[in-house]
């Protein structure tokens, strides 16, 4: 491979993982956008998506084996539904009672929920690595020197579709407009007859469902998962959300892709052992230098 080709190949790899970060980052950013809470439990919520997907695959009849698109669709649908409901449930029992408490109380609760979920995941699925089946093992597209696996194109295309649907939802539907209104001024939204509690549930539902899809992709892409994987990937996705300006939905998408590409290039040119360091480095620099993100925060004046 020529240097340029290597560069492009690394970019492609970075784009794939970036799309996953972006999906997960959306959960952080949507929740933050409406209740200004960093939902630490999101890491566990999205990795639950990977576990659900795996369980669904295990329960599928033989005809729906590897290489069957419907198996994938079913896994994703159930992972997203399960994570969406989990997110809504967590909000309902853990965060809603604290709505009028100081911000710190919510934050600490979120950390607590994260620990509880991590332990529940360990109890259910055990403390060891779970390996993922490889879907469509031999199908890959090659463009000259570049190779894009089926899994990679599946990840990029399906996350792109989900993000476009989300964008349409937020921009064009009345519920999406109510969501934007409530994140700008909750009281004014209430005065307009918007049931803000329901809007908050919708944010958790969508953010967690997208996270679940991202988690399942994460598991499929790296082939193995454990109960504490949500933590590391969660911090990365959170970095992506901060990169794009936390609370900013298009920002989270761009932040995810940008972080993935930086990581991809870093792993390709420096050392893949260092790739996790990049995310933390970027997070620290961002928080010190541009706490409201490169694109700026979506907030009301």
């Amino acid at each position: 491979m020529s240097p340029l080709e290597t560069f492009i190949q690394q970019l492609i790899n970075g784009l794939v993982i970036g799309m996953i970060y972006a999906l997960i980052a959306l959960g952080y950013t949507m929740v933050y956008g409406i209740i200004q809470l960093i939902n630490f439990a999101h890491g566990e919520i999205f990795i639950t998506g990977a576990f659900i997907g795996l369980a669904v695959f295990g329960a599928l009849p033989g005809a729906l084996g590897l290489g069957n698109l419907w198996a994938l669709v079913l896994m994703f649908a159930l992972a997203m539904a399960g994570c969406g409901l989990l997110g809504v449930l967590i909000e309902r029992v853990a965060y809603r009672p604290l709505r009028k408490s100081p911000r710190l109380a919510c934050l600490i609760t979120a950390i607590g929920v994260s620990f509880i979920l991590q332990n529940v995941l360990m109890l259910i699925w055990g403390p060891v690595d779970k390996s993922f089946p490889v879907f469509f093992k031999h199908s890959a597209l090659t463009f000259g020197a570049f190779r894009v696996t089926f899994m990679q194109s599946f990840i990029v295309i399906s996350s792109l579709v989900m993000m476009l649907v989300l964008h349409f939802f937020i921009r064009r539907t009345m519920l999406g407009k109510a969501l934007r209104a409530a994140s700008e001024d909750m009281t004014a939204a209430r005065l307009m007859g918007i049931n803000v509690e329901r809007i908050i549930s919708v944010c958790f539902l969508i953010g967690s469902a997208l996270g679940g899809a991202g988690g399942l992709m994460y598991g499929m892409y790296y082939n193995t998962i454990t109960f504490h994987d949500g933590y590391l990937a969660g911090i990365k996705a959170f970095t992506a959300a901060v990169l794009g300006g936390i609370g900013n939905v298009p920002g989270a998408m761009l932040g995810g892709v940008a972080l993935g590409m930086m990581e991809g290039l870093g792993a390709g040119y420096l050392s893949s052992e260092w790739k996790n360091v990049f995310a933390f480095l970027i997070l620290i620099i961002l928080l010190l230098r541009w706490p409201s993100g490169i694109l700026g925060k979506f907030r009301h004046e």
């Binding site: 009345m174 407009k177 109510a178 934007r180 209104a181 700008e184 001024d185 009281t187 004014a188 939204a189 209430r190 005065l191 307009m192 007859g193 918007i194 049931n195 979506f298 009301h300 004046e301």
Partner: protein
């Protein structure tokens, strides 16, 4: 139809800000609420709208009690507020702000007609409809805030200082529209710094001082009251 508020008590933490307020607002009439800064006027409106929890007191609208009900249910019942400081959704367009005013009827085809109707009341909004509300001038934002509330088809409109910080010409325009809305049968509770105008148009007015109603009567009568003249009309 009448909105009756009885013996309203509201506290922020341990500090009681409203110490038993009773008001009555009738459809098709303007009722004024006048008082100094910090007297508790905005607090009273937020309590009526269901944003602040009542510590004590009751509300009755159209013969039905409105107790412990959510803000969206109060809006749905026809009691709609235009809050102090306008609070339009700055990042949303003028058109979207109006759509959100009709959020409870969002699937109704009459929303479009209502938008046309508020555009005839405030033609400038029609010119600005695709602009983000944050880019509007103060007067235009106030017009939008009123128009947005009208989109909910209010029976009772609660207006918190609609003339605040606006040029006299703009204020006049807004007051004209308010009179028009009243003549169409909407009841208006008007909180105003501009006490003279409020008292002139109000069929009934209340004076609030540190959380208590200290005086009430027909607006024209309060205009002649010595206490009101010295405290609120600068005479």
């Amino acid at each position: 139809m009448r909105l009756k508020v009885k013996n309203l008590h509201i506290s922020y933490g341990k500090i009681e800000v409203l110490k038993g307020i009773s008001l009555e607002i009738s459809q098709g009439k303007i009722t004024a609420l006048v008082g100094a800064n910090g007297a508790g006027k905005s607090t009273a409106l937020m309590a009526i709208s269901g944003i602040l929890p009542l510590k004590e007191g009751s509300m009755e609208f159209d013969g039905k009690t409105l107790e412990r009900i959510r803000p969206d249910e109060i809006t749905a019942s026809g009691v709609v507020q235009v809050p102090e400081g306008r609070r339009v959704f700055r990042r949303l367009t003028v058109f979207e702000n109006l759509q959100l005013g009709a959020f409870l009827r969002r699937n109704d085809h009459t929303v479009k007609e209502d938008i046309e109707r508020v555009f005839t009341l405030f033609p400038i909004l029609s010119k600005r409809k695709s602009q983000e509300a944050g880019t509007l001038s103060g007067g235009e934002q106030q017009m939008l805030a009123i128009a947005r509330a009208l989109m909910a088809r209010p029976k009772i409109l609660l207006l918190d200082e609609p003339s605040l910080g606006l040029a006299p010409l703009v204020v006049e325009k807004i007051f004209d529209v308010l009179l028009k809305i009243q003549s169409e049968g909407v009841g208006i509770l008007l909180v105003e710094q501009n006490a003279r105008w409020a008292l002139e148009v109000a069929s009934w007015a209340y004076v609030i001082e540190t959380g208590r109603i200290v005086l009430e009567g027909p607006g024209s009568q309060l205009l002649m009251n010595d206490r009101v003249r010295s405290a609120y009309l600068g005479e």
